[in-house]
Amino acid sequence: MNTDAWLHALDGELRRRGIDPALARHVVAEAAVHLRDSRQAPLAAFGPPDAYAAAVAESVGSPVRSAPHRRSAPGPVRLEARGIVKRHRRRTVLSGVDLTVRAGEIAAVVGANGCGKSTLLRICAGLESPDRGEVRLRGTLGFCPQDGGTSDFLVPDEHFALVGAGRGMRRGAAVRAGRAYAAALDWDPAGAGQARFLSGGTRQKLNLVMAGLGDPDVLLLDEPYQGFDRGSYVDFWRQLWAWRDAGKTIVVVTHLLDQLDRVDTVLDLTPARTTEARA
């Protein structure tokens, strides 16, 4: 089997095992580089494609597509929004939205642009008031905005210390926890410069890490993965399941519908707006 044929077979085997296509590309590219550097035959260096693909699949854990299913019954209700109505000038953005999420559940809020997803999240976070309706929240809260949220002239460690301080953490503990969360997102913030020099995707990782600092009970995440590459995106969902398994309540705004089989509740805000348009 020549190298190209072997690499092609490996790609197929990785995908067949449900490995994320982007990750599969990385694995194949890395094997190709290795084969060129070592001048070895693929079978000698890596063995048969299916065996190597199996070893890769085992190393990266369960494939993303078969996300861990519910392990235990969900816990008590942590977030309850009832009859939320919000108008921006004359336009009704939210017309009587209900959302109930328990401990150990992920709720996805979906819908077209401008249908009020971010507004709903900000109302749940207490950053905006609804015109009608009420939000009940039991426990502590972490919020990850869609953008903003970072301070241009602070380095990541200072962000961790600052947010940690607000959640009763000592500086050292906050920085350690921040770096550990960052590592789970495949980001090493130790030597990173001020936030204004970070890429958009990395700034969002910083936002996400800050939301999780201090172990809040409820996490509200507004499309936190913008600018993530595919690998980071996979890490992000892993982090979400880890939080869910730890009994957190998670609300995530998303427009990516391929994720919806991995969440517990889906709140689609689009119909409300369609009705509104017809009315």
Partner: protein, 112 residues
């Protein structure tokens, strides 16, 4: 050396050896394999090495980045994280304790 047994030994310590090499400086797969060989571990196959690197990456012990080298094409460079360094230091101490026991017993054999 018995091939089978060498494989078993490697399985137990390869991740630690990889981290130890990365503690010197960041590196990519093939270079890591060469460093491990030079350190006396013998040749490590790509099929053995990369799954270990993936696991280390998944557990946050290393980070990885594709980058152009000074010469040649892009390679995936691995760098040990702070968590990886901590884990390595802890486990190196455990390893010391463990092998001391094995050493003591096996040395008796050599002197008999």
């Amino acid at each position: 050396m018995d091939h089978e047994r060498r494989g078993q030994w490697l399985r137990g310590v390869l991740d630690l050896c990889v981290l130890a090499v990365l503690l010197r400086r960041e590196s990519y797969g093939y270079e890591l394999a060469q460093s491990l060989d030079a350190a006396g571990l013998g040749p490590i196959r790509g099929g053995t090495l990369y799954p270990v690197l993936l696991r280390l990456q998944r557990t946050g012990m290393v980070t990885a980045q594709w980058r152009e080298g000074e010469s040649g094409p892009a390679r995936k460079y691995y760098r040990i994280t702070e968590a990886g360094g901590e884990m390595l230091r802890r486990t190196a101490a455990d390893w010391e304790t463990f092998t001391r026991g094995v050493d003591t017993l096996l040395r008796e054999v050599a002197t008999r």
